[in-house]
């Protein structure tokens, strides 16, 4: 449970020595409670007080690092149940489940999903390796290792697990195999190889008991596989585990989760898409799918990017020339701000019109048109500077420039700064762009 400022104050020396940089011990305590400064800033805290505090101020959900190198990911570390309360910090990962039989067929499909969206690489970050038998499992692990993806060893056989870890432990996989029956042995294996341990149990009570038992064995690099037999119970587990950790201070449930959709919606790709969306919003840290097609990836990765963006920071697209509908140097130009939402709405409508347009995006601080204009970040000056800096007049021969309807006021000054250009004002609403462009 988080301590209040007053509780922390009671543990300080109350001497107001100012050595921590704060005027009083009370001011110091309040800042520690907010998480603004670490408790160690006070040089006069007793050992005992520090121990009490570090326990009490420890985060409610463990932040766990898995994978290595380019495929290293941080899971968990969340402090709020809803993104507007602060922000979510660790994006969920998407995994595709493969078996010894399906690996060769599925790998090229998995590798196909690799594209960039608003500065982020979108790909299948993890593969879930299904266990069939000892011999083929080792071969599967050998094949899957070194492919730049986090490995999830979905195996409950201790011997097979050890054999797999002999091959891939250096890649820091997740050993997802502990159950109420085998947890002692699996905890030893996870400790030995230094990998995160996944726990699955028949129900939420058994999951809690098992996680607690593993903690008692001194291991806290844990992931909770909340998948149950049904969609309903899986959702109930995912929500209750996260809620217990963040709202009710239950540390035993303060670990990232795995949801395996192949186990609850096998063979139904559309249903897996719907459920994946549900678990992006509601507390799946790793979402395992049977497959990942472009049709599924496009909405799911977009949704994930939206949900895990920091509400205090606007999403921005990179400034530059975006040719739409096969635009070339003879096509008209249009300009708007770099706020991602504006970009997507405007470019979407332009694409719908079928009219070739060079969309020019300048750095407007990630604000919407009116806000950027009011803040002076989207002005005749900034647009003219962009056209100069990006050598638009050399790259594009057409001299028609469409500006947003909401920035119509810029037309006069723009015409002065860009005398060769024909400045045209677009409608106020993006929804009217299709008609506008077709009639232009």
């Amino acid at each position: 449970m988080a301590l209040k400022g007053l509780d922390i104050f009671k543990l300080t020396p109350k001497t107001n020595c100012k050595e921590c940089g704060n005027p009083t011990c009370m001011a110091f305590a309040m800042k520690v409670a907010q998480g603004a400064i670490p408790i160690e800033k006070c040089p006069h805290m007793s050992e005992e007080a520090l121990a009490t505090l570090s326990e009490a101020t420890a985060p409610p959900m463990k932040s766990l690092k898995v994978g290595t190198g380019a495929s290293e990911h941080t899971l968990g570390g969340e402090t709020v149940l809803h993104r507007h309360e602060k922000t979510f910090v660790s994006e969920n990962l998407f995994a595709v489940s493969v078996s010894a039989d399906s690996f060769d067929e599925k790998l090229p499909e998995i590798e196909k999903i690799d594209y960039e969206r608003i500065g982020e690489r979108m790909y299948v970050e993890a593969v879930n390796l299904e266990y069939t038998d000892k011999e083929s499992y080792a071969k599967l692990v050998e094949k899957a290792a070194g492919k730049g993806r986090l490995l999830i060893l979905d195996v409950k056989d201790a011997e097979a697990a050890e054999a797999a870890l002999e091959i891939c432990a250096s890649e820091k996989p997740i050993l997802n195999g502990a159950t109420p029956d085998n947890y002692a042995q699996f905890t030893e294996i996870a400790k030995k190889y230094g990998v995160a341990l996944g726990i699955n149990a028949p129900d939420i009570d058994a999951l809690h008991d098992t996680a607690e038992a593993v903690e008692k064995l001194g291991y806290k690099e844990l992931v909770l596989d909340v998948t149950a037999d049904t969609v309903k119970d899986t959702f109930a587990n995912a929500v209750q585990v996260r809620r217990a950790a963040l709202k009710d201070g239950d540390r035993t449930f303060g670990y990232p989760s795995i949801v395996n959709l192949k186990r609850i919606a096998a063979g139904d790709a559309h249903k897996q898409t719907a459920l994946a969306a549900l678990f992006v919003l509601k507390y799946g840290s790793i979402i395992v799918m049977e497959d990942m097609s472009y049709a599924q990836a496009l909405p799911l990765y977009g949704l994930r990017q939206n949900i895990f963006t920091d509400p205090q920071k606007p999403m921005k697209v990179a400034p530059g020339i975006y040719p739409l509908n096969g635009a070339d140097e003879n096509s008209i130009c249009a300009t708007t701000v770099d706020f991602a939402l504006t970009y997507f709405v405007v470019s979407g409508e332009m694409e719908r019109s079928g009219v070739p347009v060079n969309l020019l995006i300048s750095d407007a601080g990630g604000y919407s048109v009116l806000t950027a204009w009011a803040a002076g970040k989207f002005s005749a000056g900034s647009i003219a500077k962009f056209i100069k800096d990006y050598e638009i007049e050399d790259k594009i021969k057409n001299r028609t420039l469409i500006i947003p309807g909401k920035a119509a006021v810029l037309k006069g000054e723009l015409e002065e700064r860009l005398p060769e250009w024909n400045v045209v004002v677009a409608p106020n609403e993006a929804t009217n762009l299709v008609k506008f462009l077709k009639e232009l």
Partner: protein, 313 residues
């Protein structure tokens, strides 16, 4: 220590609003739990799924949709087919053709079409307008008169026209309306307050707090829904306890992922599959956020989402 369950139930609940008449009438809202948290307490009413049809006809370029509506040519036939769509609880007629920037279909023609639809179906009818304030004001007033007694839900009344729409649709002809705001909890609440001050009863209106396709600013939608549900249930804000309807299809079938052809984007694959995945992904997200009803276009999306709802509730 064993796991201690701490169910999160509230003394306040979402209002109940019934649309349609007879055996197939649908009641929206009523929950006193966070969306889909049926492990805390049972949900009172099932989340409803609507099958969208338009006055501009069926999009037969998509094989799945064409196959479903095969043989249904007239407005009445299409409506009847939609009402029988597996998983659909209501039919949503989108009067897209009424848009003055599009076909600009006349109000009289729209009324005629709506009447044919209403007469052909026994499930509740939801009507979404041209999304043009002036046109919708006139349209909803005339439609409300023509459809008196059908308990139709009109989507949506906005800040600019709520007085006229509420007065005609609800007060004069006893239908239902949805109060639309653009992903902003304060605007949503303000419009609800204005409607209640007119004397519109809680059982007569729902709200549409805005929608976006997954990836297209959905962050704002997610947070608006989260905040509305928190205010309605945890803080007992009676001016935010209206059930929520979200027209998902209008957003998702208008984004690039659902539009561009496989010829232009070969690596993306079949367009229809993409459109369905975009539709179900967005629908699942708004349902997780607290929508009590969604409007979907593709029969596969309706089947998938109603299946997911059945699994969860």
């Amino acid at each position: 220590m064993a796991f201690t369950r701490k169910p999160q139930t509230y003394s306040s609940s979402i209002n109940e609003v019934t649309i349609g008449t007879g055996d197939k009438a649908v009641t929206l809202g009523g929950a006193n739990i966070m969306p889909l948290y049926t492990f805390d307490a049972p949900a009172k009413n099932k989340i409803a799924v609507g099958a969208e049809i338009t006055d501009t006809g069926v999009d037969r370029t998509l094989p799945g949709i064409a196959a479903f509506y095969e043989g249904a040519e007239t407005v009445a036939e299409i409506a009847k087919r939609a009402s029988e769509m597996p998983g659909a609880d209501f039919v949503a007629l989108a009067l897209n053709g009424a848009d003055p920037n599009g076909d600009n279909r006349s109000v009289e023609e729209c009324v005629e079409i709506a009447k044919q639809v209403a007469d052909a179906i026994d499930v509740p009818l939801v009507i979404t307008g041209a999304r043009n304030v002036e046109k919708d004001t006139e349209l909803f007033s005339k439609l409300a008169e023509a459809l008196e007694g059908k308990n139709v839900l009109f989507v949506s009344a906005r800040e600019e026209n709520y007085k006229t729409v509420a007065a005609s649709a609800v007060m004069a002809y006893g239908n239902k309306i949805s109060a639309e705001s653009a992903v902003d909890i304060n605007l949503a609440k303000q419009l609800n307050v204005l409607l209640s001050q007119m004397g519109i009863k809680p059982e007569s209106y729902v709200m549409n707090v805005g929608a976006a396709a997954a990836g297209y600013g959905y962050d704002y939608v997610a947070s608006t829904l989260d905040r509305v549900k928190d205010a309605a249930l945890a803080q007992n804000d009676v001016m935010l306890q209206m059930p929520i309807i979200t027209p998902v299809s209008q957003e998702t079938w208008a984004v690039k992922e659902s539009i561009v052809s496989e010829e232009d984007y070969p690596e993306w694959g079949d367009r229809e599959t993409r459109g369905v995945d975009m539709e179900v992904c967005t629908a699942a997200a708004v349902i997780a956020g607290g929508s009590d009803a969604v409007i979907l276009r593709h029969p596969q999306s309706v089947a998938t989402i109603s299946g997911m709802i059945a699994d969860l509730m």
